[in-house]
Symmetry: C2
Subunit: 347 residues, 2 copies
Amino acid sequence: MESAPQRKKRVTITDVARHAGVSTAAVSKVLRNAYGVSASMQERVRSAMAELDYRPHAAARGMRGRTYTIGVLLDNIRNTFFADILDGIRDELHDSEYTVMIGAAGFDAASQAKTIRSMVDRQMDGLILIAPGTPRAEVLAMAQSTPTVVIGHHDASDIHDSVLDADGLGAGLVVDHLVSLGHRDIALVSAPGTRTGKWARTPEIVLTNGYLEAMERHGLGAHARVHKAAYSDEGGYKAGMSLLTAERRPTAIMTGADVAALGVWRAAHEIGLRVSEDVSLAGYNNTALADLATVQLTSVDQAGHTMGSTAARMLVERVEGHRDRAAQVTMTPRLVVRDSTGAVGGD
Amino acid sequence: MESAPQRKKRVTITDVARHAGVSTAAVSKVLRNAYGVSASMQERVRSAMAELDYRPHAAARGMRGRTYTIGVLLDNIRNTFFADILDGIRDELHDSEYTVMIGAAGFDAASQAKTIRSMVDRQMDGLILIAPGTPRAEVLAMAQSTPTVVIGHHDASDIHDSVLDADGLGAGLVVDHLVSLGHRDIALVSAPGTRTGKWARTPEIVLTNGYLEAMERHGLGAHARVHKAAYSDEGGYKAGMSLLTAERRPTAIMTGADVAALGVWRAAHEIGLRVSEDVSLAGYNNTALADLATVQLTSVDQAGHTMGSTAARMLVERVEGHRDRAAQVTMTPRLVVRDSTGAVGGD
DNA sequence: CCCGCCGTAGAGAACGTTATACAAAACCTC
DNA sequence: GAGGTTTTGTATAACGTTCTCTACGGCGGG
């Protein structure tokens, strides 16, 4: 049996060296633009590389030095907020020599951990973890060996960098807005705490605290109600069903993610309630979803693109050793009012 | 200056071998469950690996054998249809030893090519390319050295496998549906052909042909109108604006992607047209977007999840050498009627 | 003119794994 | 039990890079 015509031999550094009539060490130096190469050598090697269409073998590089790969972990591609962050990362890294690889691990903590380990095992130069559900200890252990930026969690650390949003403030903005519209019965739909493996200050915890404080501040502490639900259409739907069929129905619902708000919307729709007129609804993250013509959801913008580019920049600083101590950047959220919130009992 | 406490030494195969009192070769055999290991050896090595918490170093593996990594290329994470495909891939590979890494390269052909090359350079075992915009020759060259499955393009090849949807049929389903509602002026919004580097049968081309044939079949050839636009909210919006303000306004618009349909919707909304009553609107892919309570978009389901899992299965077959010739799988689309399409001039 | 120095190039040892080739041991078969 | 076969484990040469260390040639200064 004649086997497939696979396996065209790769061009290696040795081929380039031979073709240029120099040593592999010299080629390697040019490749890493290391110290100790003359201009003529540069020239010679570069043209040899071009002629042979040489591309370094990343796996081999990984054995000794860097792989020029940045890994990004996220739980759920459907949350378009993450897409904003990714765009920021990509734009920042676009004309650097780094390649971004995304690991979409789902909500399950175990498979997230597996994915993070995979990235470390693949010798990635740096990791960006978006609100990881993995136990904190695991993340710290990984960050020990690979530069890491954690996005979302407020728990600071001197081992990894952090980029986060002042979620507490953001929750306050929404509550203030709703109260100014006359609402008093304001419920919050936030992610379940089960995913928090020793993270004391996940976005949802901070958000919830911000909500509770704001309610307190307005003298509405007794009206506060927090419903836990996954940040997905389905999670929002269930939460919406439960809240909107309760005996004392809230006049306004805010959620920690736009996608969940749309689930609530679906529930309201099914029950026969009009959003804005019968129940005000606010999301979080100001994703593209919120701006759809048929949606027009009031939401909180937390500048995902900027978060992404900031994270990427910080990570590269660390990878390249320009900075040797952890840093933390906090973004300020901004309220975006659209049609889904209205005066209480309004028509 | 005291440097960071980085670099905890990794546990290597040598450590495991020493700890178990055997040779590294033996450990390697166990690792790959190769032929020639006794049960007792298995046992001994496995427990040593467990005790030391050993994880193989993927970069080192890549030097000789496989990396157990599958790369997935997509242009745009915001297209939730791709999320369906990815879920399919993930579910299929979930409890295999393969890790999935996603490269989100954007629409630009050059950066897609760069991403594909990155994946090959990282010695990934197999590639799944979702409707790549890269020139066909480039894809074939890469497929030469790495097993590849192309999703979407109808161009068959004996070098890579293909998974695709009968898009021509799908377009026909929509046209038939709209005609049955009394529509005659039916416009199509499809992706621009610029991204086709020698692909003769991209999804958009096949879709367009299907649309034209169906219109012809109904004697509406003269009414056919195709508008090119990017499959994004913005692209759909521009197309919608242009079509809906034209002198002869279509009574129905179908798009090649749900996300573009929502852009059209936004345009209609701005112009003051009601979707369904004033203009019927149909999308494609039946993504989660189409099913939102406030959207309810008629769309064509092409079973993204199944496409993903099929592609993954086919790829693994190839990677592991169980199949040595290219294969092609075609899915049948199904129309999902929702509220966005109605009788012409209906109210 | 010899010594030390600097800038550049090359030799060669890693890195952690796979896989081939072989030695040793165990098991058959007559 | 001799001869053959099969099973089991080991030694070791790759794989394609990086990077340290050494060699060399030229040059300025004493």
